[in-house]
Point group: C2
Chain length 160, copies 2
Amino acid sequence: MKVTVRKALKTDMSSVLKLIKELALFEREPDAVEVSEKELIEAGFGPSPQFNCLVAEVENTVVGMALFYPRFSTWKGRSIHLEDLIVTEAMRGKGIGRALYDKILEFGHAEGVRRVQWEVLNWNEPAVKFYENSGATILKDWWLVHMQEDALKNYIENKE
Amino acid sequence: MKVTVRKALKTDMSSVLKLIKELALFEREPDAVEVSEKELIEAGFGPSPQFNCLVAEVENTVVGMALFYPRFSTWKGRSIHLEDLIVTEAMRGKGIGRALYDKILEFGHAEGVRRVQWEVLNWNEPAVKFYENSGATILKDWWLVHMQEDALKNYIENKE
């Protein structure tokens, strides 16, 4: 089985959105995806792209993707954030995720960043093990905080 | 006491770095700060700035800062990430943090993002309470994963 990893094109965003929705279902948040194909195209392929995206193909079909962008750590400086790395369920366990993972880490290393970072659900044991085995550090004492659009609106409109 | 919140200038980066180091000490990681004033200036004030920074001043002295930048959520699209919000210890409890927090949320709201997000240490109870009271959601089932520079180098050099 030949796996090709290449830079995503605008025309891949439909397949990429399908993978995003598949992952949201796995993460028990099937209704959380509000982003549209149009937004992915505008954000990723406009004059100042907000992310980079790789896709993995087998026999000319997109079966995986990795989406990442720069962040700035006040401790480490420039870093790379891996937002999503997804392989469609039927194609897991074939080294496709590893191929994408390697490309991202190689990219970070080549860019000279002090850190590549991402987030993992604490019940996703195989993923946690995989990351630990590759040398990554799991930080268990931080919580994520999200102020969603409706809460944001509510806060702005009701503060003194 | 008059608090002024304004956009940070290059010349504020020395004060900003002091605040970053003060926070790292509070977070029990005094040696984690590798970033330099020069890096802050290059990253924040170059041709394609990697972050925005606000400072809070009292009597022409910088006593607080907030550093943030855009991220891209595959669920919500464009979002704002608040990397750090710091008020120097002697000036806490005077509404300075709230003034910075408000500005960031107003900025996110004005930008029309679907989410403003950040991270909090799970033992920092006052901060967690403050965020919850303002309408933010605390996500406790995610872990952060960091591949630091040395682990990255090691992985790249030793993978098959």
